[in-house]
């Protein structure tokens, strides 16, 4: 698994800049948000003294006090539900769910209140809550520690759903999410936490706003459309595809809601071929929506159907079997190979 390859040309040129892990950038984003805005409060299980099981909240309780970074009782609905109340009173809660599957107890609060409160109150009661969810597999986690739950959140109007795949985005997008007046489900790809990239915490590179996709690599033959944990895999696949004579572009969606039709369609119209890649299960997963909307918008530019490479439609497997489940370079290239090259190009 390749993580932390340098992404984007701007970063490539900054040779002297220090190597920073995504986890550190996220930590920095929380710290900077808290320092700038006293209404930002972090809460969750083990986020205080311990600094979180992934150490994303490390040092925040010490710096800002227990009341700003709070170890809650162990109850996710309670955490998110109290965050709703805190937001009602003008705070900006940032909630940590310890693992993706452990966000499910908070589902009702998320769907029936967090996503709907602005709408229910005709704009009077917005809820600027950020729900941080470490998601996805590839870390050797046991049962219930590797779910990809983005399909649930995407299907819920009222939520923004975003996920960084680079260190710069991890910082920049988390800052944006916290500053947003809408609730944001902020999906953190667990297996990229410790992937490093050249990034300067003293001078964080500006990033595109939430809602914008970024073309990480331009290509002529076909476009890989992906996000989060699958971005490095797609970049690796694009590299490997050269050997096959394919020049693949890679689009990093960054934001599933709102969705950047413009950037995605511009790329696909250019190449006429696309593969959507994600780790989440295929059936009913994000790829269906993405493929369908591309097809609706770019039908006459398509040389082949938009294909999908996704996790299998199975409960996440035990760690020793996960490599068979996760979309890898070969599976992506197989899909590219099925893009009906005889038909055109």
């Amino acid at each position: 698994m390749t993580t932390g390859t340098s992404l984007g040309t701007a970063v490539d040129s900054a040779v002297a800049v220090q190597q920073t892990a995504m986890a550190q950038a996220l930590n920095r984003a929380l710290r900077d948000s808290m320092a700038e805005d006293p209404s930002v409060h972090v809460l969750g299980e083990d986020v205080g003294t311990l600094g979180g099981v992934f150490r994303i909240t490390d040092g925040l309780a010490a710096e800002f006090g227990d009341h700003r970074c709070t170890d809650t009782p162990l109850a996710e609905a309670g955490i998110l539900g109290t965050a709703v109340g805190m937001a009602m009173y003008g705070l900006r809660p940032v909630v940590e769910m310890q693992f993706d599957a452990f966000a499910y107890p908070a589902f009702e609060q998320l769907i029936s209140h967090v996503a709907k409160m602005r709408n229910r109150t005709r704009g009077a009661m917005p809820l600027p809550i950020t729900v941080r969810v470490p998601y996805g597999g590839g870390i050797g986690g046991v049962e219930h520690h590797s779910d990809s739950s983005e399909a649930y959140y995407m299907a819920t109007p009222g939520l923004h759903v975003v996920t960084p795949a680079t260190v710069a985005d991890a910082y920049g997008m988390l800052r944006q999410a916290i500053a947003s007046d809408d609730p944001v489900v902020f999906l953190e790809p667990k297996r990229l936490y410790w992937g490093k990239d050249a990034w300067d915490p003293q001078d964080p590179a500006p990033v595109e706003p939430i809602g914008k996709a970024v073309v990480r690599r331009t290509g002529r033959s076909a476009t890989l459309i992906t996000y989060g944990p699958s971005l490095p895999v797609c970049l690796e696949a694009a590299e490997a595809a050269r050997a096959e004579g394919w020049d693949l572009g890679v689009v990093d969606l960054r934001s599933l809601v709102p969705f950047d039709d413009e950037t995605v369609c511009a790329e696909v119209r250019r190449t006429g071929r696309a593969v959507v890649v994600h780790e989440s299960g295929g059936f009913g997963g994000p790829g269906g929506e993405i493929a369908a909307r591309i097809t609706e918008r770019c039908f006459h530019h398509l040389e082949a159907p938009v294909l999908r490479v996704a996790g299998f439609d199975i409960p996440y497997p035990p760690p020793m079997a996960e490599r068979h489940h996760l979309p890898g370079v070969d599976r992506i290239l197989d899909a590219v190979g099925r893009l009906q090259w005889e038909a055109g190009d």
């Binding site: 109340g85 009702e108 009222g158």
Partner: protein
Amino acid sequence: MTVMEQRDTYRPAPPPAWQPRTDPAPLLPDAEPYRVLGTPAADEAAAADPGLLRRLYAEVVRGRRYNAQATALTKQGRLAVYPSSTGQEACEVAAAMVLADQDWLFPSYRDTLAVVGRGVDPVEALTLLRGDRHTGYDPYAHRVAPLSTPLATQLPHAVGLAHAARLKGDDVVALAMIGDGGTSEGDFHEALNFAAVWRAPVVFLVQNNGFAISVPLAKQSAAPSLAHKAVGYGIPGRLVDGNDAVAVHQVLSEAVRHAREGNGPVLVEAITYRLDAHTNADDATRYRESSEVDAWRDHDPVLLLERELTARGVLDEDAIGAVREDAEAMAADLRARMNQDPEIDPMELFAHVYAEPTPQLLEQQAMLRAELEAEAHPQQEGTAR
């Protein structure tokens, strides 16, 4: 040191972390619900604040009338549904009255009366049930959260809000209302626990009206009383006759004071009864005997106050008449205003999903606008349809 050597130094002791913790005794509710009306405590109450009793009476009568009017509006198709609090007006009225202006109310879907009691316009309080809007009032105007349909889910909100206010140093108490059935939900448990651990200034008021739709309390809980749940969170549990408006007012006032003074949350169980069906759509004869309802009619909150106050000579027929007239006027106004057709702006569907509509929503809005224009001007359409 081998085991054999240790043998001589063996000093059995309780587990090291063990210390006698909070004394549970003061947290437990009394065996009987607290009552004032018809007891010696009524003398004191009447002496201490005779105006309060009259105000409670007037409010309870208004509440009863509001319930009747709203139910009548369902029959006329002016409300989609109404979950009446007839029989429970003492709780509804007292809940609103004990709060200070800066405090917050977190009502359940049955608590329109308490919402109105906070000052919310009676028509705005009903939009949810009329069906033209979800929450019809600005929650910040009177510090009233939206009526909550998903049971128990508003309780953690109350805790979070009260906690936030306390962190900011503001003097705010949150009062959260829930039914007996709602106490079975996980959110009830989590909210009480968070409130207790955080010592958040929250008063939880459980209106135990004997039923969750058709399900009687005995199928809901085996506890000595619902107020006994409090000790499991380390907070005081109080039991009160929920049809005795003065008793409810006293117990809630005391609970609010307790919370306001930084002592943390209180759980209050008010024993009451829903005299009407669950909603106008419900048929209560399917699950309860009319004899049971009749027994409660004799313990009606309006009647209890009326009897006490007339027995004391605080109320006479004239005063009662005046109170009823006032209630009638309120009902007439409500009726008149509810008989106007609300305006629906279909474009508003897209207005408050996000701070800024997404590109996708803008597309959908444009589509609906085009549809509506085509509907309004069919002749202008290009196609045959």
